[in-house]
Symmetry: C2
Subunit: 265 residues, 2 copies
């Protein structure tokens, strides 16, 4: 499929992944033919953005499409895929967790197209470095997906269900839980009428440091150096929040066990 | 003290803060006169780097110095400050946690000079955006410290002991604990013979996203959308590590409570 214009793509879903992937594909010269989903207003908005035709139900999508991208919630994949028209294209989901077998319906070619990134509605992602995890039932379909993914990103990865799930789990730790830590820091500072902005340089350096240090090397702080005095003072400052104290203690024990295992057992 | 060359500075300590601060001051035209610390080889190395005189004991430092920077471990501040020669300079520590009153000895002017960043030996920090938290006993000394700090950074902050401690605590959450999360993700991936490198774009975007979204807005993931199926699958993947499971559960409960408080109690 050398000719991008000749490749007909439909997108089901109107969330963050659909918006970012749709705009990225359009920017690379792909014509998104149709957009469908659950909510007709959201379908209309994304279709307008992509110069595509809004289709109010996935069952009414053009069956001649070459690629159906189901950028829907994990729980909806099975249901939505079963509702697609009978087709000879490739049907992919964009989930980190769901097995390829969760795609069910009257089509021959299932695949996975999982861009490993956190997406926002108001920030168009630059896909160039985003790992795209690909999976397909045969070599031809994998090449077809590689061709499209490769026009977006230089970072294509072939994974099976199990590997992809572990990568998704690891992603939850570095993204979702890290963001929750930012939230806790924000709360601590707001209590003193201070702004999280004071932490921006530290947050950026923490992320950048990991690009050339292992997490084990990069670790610093009171638990790393077994500074019990500071740990006790911190726990006093957290005394009014059991939730924050528990998170503090769990991490402190985790780091102490890693760097000072002589204290164990 | 408009003339940088006329300002005599001594540094006590040879750790990451001493190296980064010493090199930054030198690069801005300050002459570091003397370096002292605990370990003579480390003193020699840093002194050579800064074109300063190595002094084997803090008690032997030139008492005519204008500024003594104690870049030493929190637990050593009281002891080291007490050993300084009687002097009329300003003696500062660089700690996020210790009160200004932990500086004790035969000198009139105590202060705090706390650069809020994680430092490495092998990466010279660019101080330009690093918040430097300043504290002093009187207005003249504060102006003196501002003058020096302001030549390094555009981000000077006046804090008292309590504010600085809360900022330090918040910093532990966004730096030390975030880094521990990177370590857990690294372990999960290594178990499947995968590399943490696949997470670099996500790690960087997680940090960058917080510069223009509140942590509350930026939160995504299974707990955010109450995707119990994914949470259960993740916990199965973590079944062989109680430590990781506990951290996973605590964060998941924390996020669920925040975004789905109807489940409480």
């Amino acid at each position: 499929m050398a000719d991008k214009k000749a490749c007909l793509i439909s997108i089901v879903g109107t969330g963050r992944v659909a918006w970012n992937l749709g705009r990225a594909l359009t920017a690379k010269g792909y014509a998104i033919q149709e957009v469908s989903g659950r909510n007709s207003e959201n379908i209309r908005l994304l279709a307008a953005k992509l110069n595509a035709r809004p289709v109010d139900k996935p069952s009414k999508l053009n069956p001649l499409c070459d690629l159906f991208i189901l950028a829907v919630n994990d729980d909806a994949i099975e249901d939505v895929s079963a509702k697609l028209p009978e087709n000879k294209g490739v049907v992919v989901h964009t989930s980190g967790m769901k097995p390829i077998s969760s795609l069910k319906g009257k089509f021959a070619h299932a695949g996975v197209f999982y861009p490993l990134q956190t997406f926002s509605f108001d920030r168009q992602a630059n896909f160039e470095n985003i790992p795209i995890l690909l999976q397909a039932g045969n070599r031809d379909n994998l090449l077809f997906l590689e061709n499209i993914a490769g026009s977006l990103s230089r970072n294509l990865v072939h994974t099976n269900d199990t590997q992809r799930q572990s990568i998704h789990l690891a992603a939850v730790f570095v993204n979702n839980f890290t963001n929750a830590l930012y939230g806790i820091a924000d709360d601590i500072l707001k209590d003193k009428e201070l702004s999280i902005k004071i932490l921006y340089p530290l947050i950026l350096e923490t992320a950048n440091k990991i690009l050339d240090h292992s997490p084990f090397e990069a670790q610093t702080g009171p638990a790393r150096r077994k500074d019990i005095g500071t740990i006790e003072t911190h726990l006093k400052l957290l005394a009014d929040s059991e939730e924050k104290s528990n998170i503090y203690k769990l991490f402190t024990d985790y780091i102490l066990n890693k760097y000072h295992p002589e204290n164990n057992g």
